[in-house]
């Protein structure tokens, strides 16, 4: 566990240069790849990915040796005049997630995006943008200054948007345009808040600010604007209009990066602002609102996901639900004294981010393989896929199990930590949401697997040969997520010692069965599609029993889908944006 040791923050620590390297090595790759041009782009990326991963690992090793966070003063100018980079435990976890996911995606994408196999345009853009996203995310995780964070957000947006429209179809161009406009709206809100904070305190350094802030209306207005802007970029319900078309329309490797990593960037800045800049100020009500949006995201995202015909859209909506899950930690980390605690709930939230990053990237890539082999991704056309594409379906299943929170996955450890905080804080209502969230996740995983595992009447024609190395990368990522509960997170995250023993036991079994059974019931009730197992007598009797109830559930699902369509229009989304900014401002002001 890392105490926030502010005594050492005004000087560069021994291994501080690693922080600089982790940002400039991918940037050097971007510049080099750009000037060398089409033929060498992939080669440059192949050189940079292992190098930058090694730097991330070096930071992971150096951090526990150091007494407090790693610090680097850029240009040797101390804040507030200069800018500092700082790595604490949270940064380390996210740096690791980024390195793991980008390496996996790079291995997966290598055959698709090689200059010889397709036109030169897509590999050129893909590899450069991949490296740029890495540099942007590392900057976000390490920056110690609110304006540097803004620059990093811009880098991230400008690297992520072109990935959406990489294949040039009209609908993906529209999706990219939506993403760009909404993300820029978010940037403007964040920048306005930053300007107000500078006008108020004369510094943007996070550590200096945390010592100077007090409950002033201007600061709270700024925080409300910045939070709303970041939520728009994270696509938290109801600001998600851009996410489903963007994440479902991009090529599989790009979707894996967008869904697994890019949305975590703005989430991480929100964590920094609430936990590090103003830990004592947001107030109980604002944290409840944030988590309530998260809970709504879980319900909306999951119900709409269950009603999708296309697998990629299903996963995009599942990302929407998982983003909601990330925000449940805010009220749970807020203690009775009215301060954010650097404790179990925060650790749970970050672990959730790690496991979602790896599992969701694996899922998108597995689906990309299925799409490429079958030539479509209609869920009802998946019969026989498990036999034809065992590795991809296995990857999908494993990453789904990891997301549900089944031991020993990181999501399960995260869920335990969050449940414990909820019980400790007496906020039992979030326990219900946490349990239901796991069940909803199980629901759409079970739904897809029910089709994929069903036998097919006719043999499946595969579009091309499957490559082992290509399919191995997502499998490794899925296993990473599934086994991440076993990793000793202690040096990086404040995890209590008495948690996290995952020996197989009855408890483990119940943790597996409980969400899966609940999920199966939810899938049967809420999915409008004919059941994969066809009509058996047992099913017919079941149908007569639950028939009226299921019709009610389907009507509810229909309603949710209609509501989602309205929220995904510009007027509704813009009004929600303004409304949220005002609500956060009002709730925070009411708390002082």
């Amino acid at each position: 566990m890392l105490p926030p040791a502010p005594a050492l923050d005004a000087m560069t620590t021994t291994s501080g240069f690693l922080l600089v390297l982790s940002i400039i090595v991918p940037i050097a790759g971007v510049l080099l790849a750009f000037v060398l041009g089409d033929r060498y782009v992939k080669l440059v990326a192949c050189g940079i990915v292992p190098l930058a991963s090694a730097i991330a690992m070096a930071i992971l090793f150096a951090l526990p040796q150091s007494n407090g966070p790693l610090v680097y003063l850029l240009g040797a100018w101390p804040p507030p005049l200069g800018v500092a980079l700082r790595a604490d435990g949270l940064s380390a976890v996210m740096l690791a997630a980024t390195a793991v996911v980008i390496s996996g995606v790079a291995v997966f994408a290598a055959p698709d995006f090689s200059p010889a196999s397709t036109q030169a345009r897509t590999p050129f853009a893909f590899w450069i943008l991949l490296l740029a996203i890495w540099a942007a995310l590392n900057t976000i995780f390490l920056a110690g200054d609110l304006f540097t964070l803004y620059v990093a957000l811009e880098l991230l947006t400008f690297a992520a948007v072109p990935l959406v429209s990489l294949d040039g179809r009209a609908e993906t161009l529209r999706a990219a345009m939506r993403y760009l406009l909404f993300a820029l709206l978010g940037s403007v809100l964040y920048l306005m808040g930053t300007a107000l904070i500078y006008g108020l305190y004369g510094t943007l350094d996070i550590v200096l600010l945390s010592r100077r802030v007090s409950a002033e209306p201007i600061l709270l207005v700024a925080a409300a604007l910045m939070t709303t802007g970041l939520l728009a970029k994270t696509a938290l319900f109801p600001l998600h209009l851009w996410l489903p078309p963007a994440h479902a329309g991009a090529p599989a490797a790009a979707s894996a990066i967008l869904s697994g990593l890019v949305v975590k960037g703005s989430f991480f800045i929100a964590v920094r602002i609430w936990f590090n800049v103003m830990p004592g100020l947001p107030g109980f009500a604002a944290t409840q609102l944030l988590a309530a949006l998260g809970a709504a995201a879980i319900v909306f995202g999951s119900v709409v996901a269950l009603r999708q015909e296309r697998l990629k859209l299903l996963i995009a909506y599942s990302t929407l639900a998982q983003i909601g899950y990330l925000f449940l930690m805010f009220p749970l980390a807020f203690d009775a004294a009215g301060r954010f605690q650097n404790g179990g709930a925060l650790a749970g939230g970050l672990l959730q981010a790690f496991s979602h990053a790896t599992a969701k990237a694996a899922m998108f890539m597995a689906v990309g393989s299925i799409y490429a082999s079958l030539g479509h991704d209609r869920i009802m056309g998946l019969r026989g896929a498990a036999r034809a594409l065992p590795l991809s379906v296995l990857t999908f299943a494993l990453s789904g199990i990891a997301l549900m929170g089944v031991p020993p996955s990181g999501a399960s450890l995260a869920k335990d930590l969050l449940l414990r905080s909820a019980a400790g804080n007496g906020q039992w209502w979030w326990e219900i949401v946490l349990q239901t969230g796991g069940m909803f996740t199980a629901a759409y995983v079970v739904l897809v697997l029910a089709y994929a595992l069903a036998p097919s009447d006719k043999p499946i024609a595969l579009a091309g040969p499957t490559r082992l190395i290509r399919d191995a990368a997502p499998l490794v990522l899925a296993l990473c997520s599934l086994l991440s509960g076993l990793v000793p997170w202690g040096p990086y995250l404040p995890i209590p010692h008495d948690i996290g023993s995952y020996l197989p036991s009855l408890g483990t079994l119940s943790k597996l069965l409980f969400p899966v059974l609940g999920g199966a019931i939810l899938a049967i009730l809420l999915s409008p599609w004919p059941h994969a197992l066809g009509s058996s007598t047992a099913r017919n009797t079941l149908a007569t029993v639950v028939g009226p109830f299921r019709r009610g559930c389907l009507a509810f699902g229909n309603l949710v889908e209609k509501g989602n369509e309205t929220l995904c229009q510009w007027p509704a989304a813009s009004i929600s944006l303004l409304l949220l900014a005002l609500m956060f401002g009002a709730l925070m002001l009411a708390a002082i």
Binding site: T12, F17, V20, I24, I27, A28, V30, L31, F34, V35, G37, D38, Y72, L73, L74, G75, A76, W77, P80, L81, G82, V83, Q119, A120, R121, T122, F124, A125, I128, L129, A132, A135, F147, T148, V151, L155, F158, A159, V161, P162, S165, L166, G168, L173, M192, L196, G199, G202, T203, P217, I218, V221, A222, L225, P571, I575, L578, L579, L582, G585
Partner: protein
């Protein structure tokens, strides 16, 4: 009430009115003209606030290059058959107006409540200008104290170029951006394109050069150079270069690359990444800025030229 106060009130009123008009007006072309004028007047406000560096940038980007971009878009949209979406209902409009009004009021309240005099780092920036021997504090902040941000912003510009280029059709990849402009070789545009660039280039370089000690700098100078380049392209005197040209790629990365190399030199030989030894700070910073003005001019010009549309070999 002095004459300057009256002028300021008038200016603020005109800017607000022009802003509302730009949003309310229906024709794309009129809105563009309104926006360009708005940008120029906002630049005047920055001058009144004694932020001449910001004023120059606002005039060059908001008034100049942004205007060219919007005019081009308006010209393309003129022929398009635009299907007007259904007008939003009354409830939607009223709630949008109320919420926007409340947000604006909250912002205005926050700005009025800001402490006066504002806490500022300006004295610290001035006191530390010995480290670079440059006396323009803005340049010192951009190139020394917050050099990392400036370098990353230049990479953002490069990503914008990649984003625009990635919209090219596959067959035109590596080709010339934008349409080939034709203009009457004896017309006014061709005449201006021959007359203005020599003057414009000198002005651009002057603004860049004085940036070391006075308001101005690489970005403002680069914007002027870019507009001169675009003028010559639009007059049909030269074509846009194919994007696969190695020299073009090299110019586009020259600024951030030199920045990175100098920064690494500081990490290796000096005290820290992006630190300059005081004796060599001025030549190093000027060197980076020379590379940056070229990069900025080429980047802004190519951003306006658009995605590659025509193959390199016709």
């Amino acid at each position: 009430m002095s004459i300057t106060t009256i002028f300021e009130i008038l200016l603020a009123a005109v800017v607000l009115g022009l802003g509302i008009w730009t949003i309310a007006v229906r024709e794309t072309f009129s809105a563009t003209v309104g926006f360009v004028t708005y940008g120029l007047l906002v630049a005047l406000i920055w001058v009144r606030l004694e932020a001449v560096d910001v004023a120059l940038t606002e005039a060059a980007i908001g008034g100049g290059l942004g205007g060219v971009l919007l005019l081009g878009a308006a010209a393309r949209l003129r022929n398009a058959d635009l299907v007007a979406g259904e007008a939003p209902g009354k409830l939607l409009r009223v709630s949008a107006a109320v919420l926007s009004g409340l947000t604006a009021a909250a912002l205005a309240g926050a700005i009025l409540l800001l402490p006066d005099p504002a806490p500022t780092l300006a004295p610290a920036a001035l006191a530390n200008s010995w480290a670079t021997s440059l006396t323009n504090p803005v340049t010192n902040v951009l190139m020394a104290f917050r050099a990392m941000d400036t370098m990353l912003e230049k990479v953002v510009l490069l990503l914008a170029i990649i984003g625009v280029w990635s919209l090219a059709p596959d067959i035109a990849w590596g080709g010339h951006p934008g349409p080939r402009h034709q203009a009457d070789p004896r017309g006014i545009l061709a005449f201006l394109a021959r007359l203005l660039p020599p003057v414009g280039i000198v002005v651009g370089i002057h603004i860049f050069w004085t940036g070391a000690n006075h308001p101005g700098g690489a970005f403002q100078g680069g914007a002027i150079l870019a507009s001169m380049w675009l003028l010559v392209i639009m007059a049909g005197l030269i074509d846009t270069p194919p994007v696969s040209r190695r020299w073009l790629r090299f110019i586009l990365i020259a600024g951030p690359s030199l920045f990175l190399v100098v920064g690494l030199g500081g990490l290796w030989f000096g005290t820290a990444f992006l630190s300059y030894p005081p004796s060599m700070a001025k030549p190093l910073i000027l060197g980076i800025e020379v590379a940056m003005i070229l990069t900025i001019a080429a980047t802004l010009g190519l951003l306006l030229a658009g995605a590659p549309e025509r193959n390199a070999k016709p």
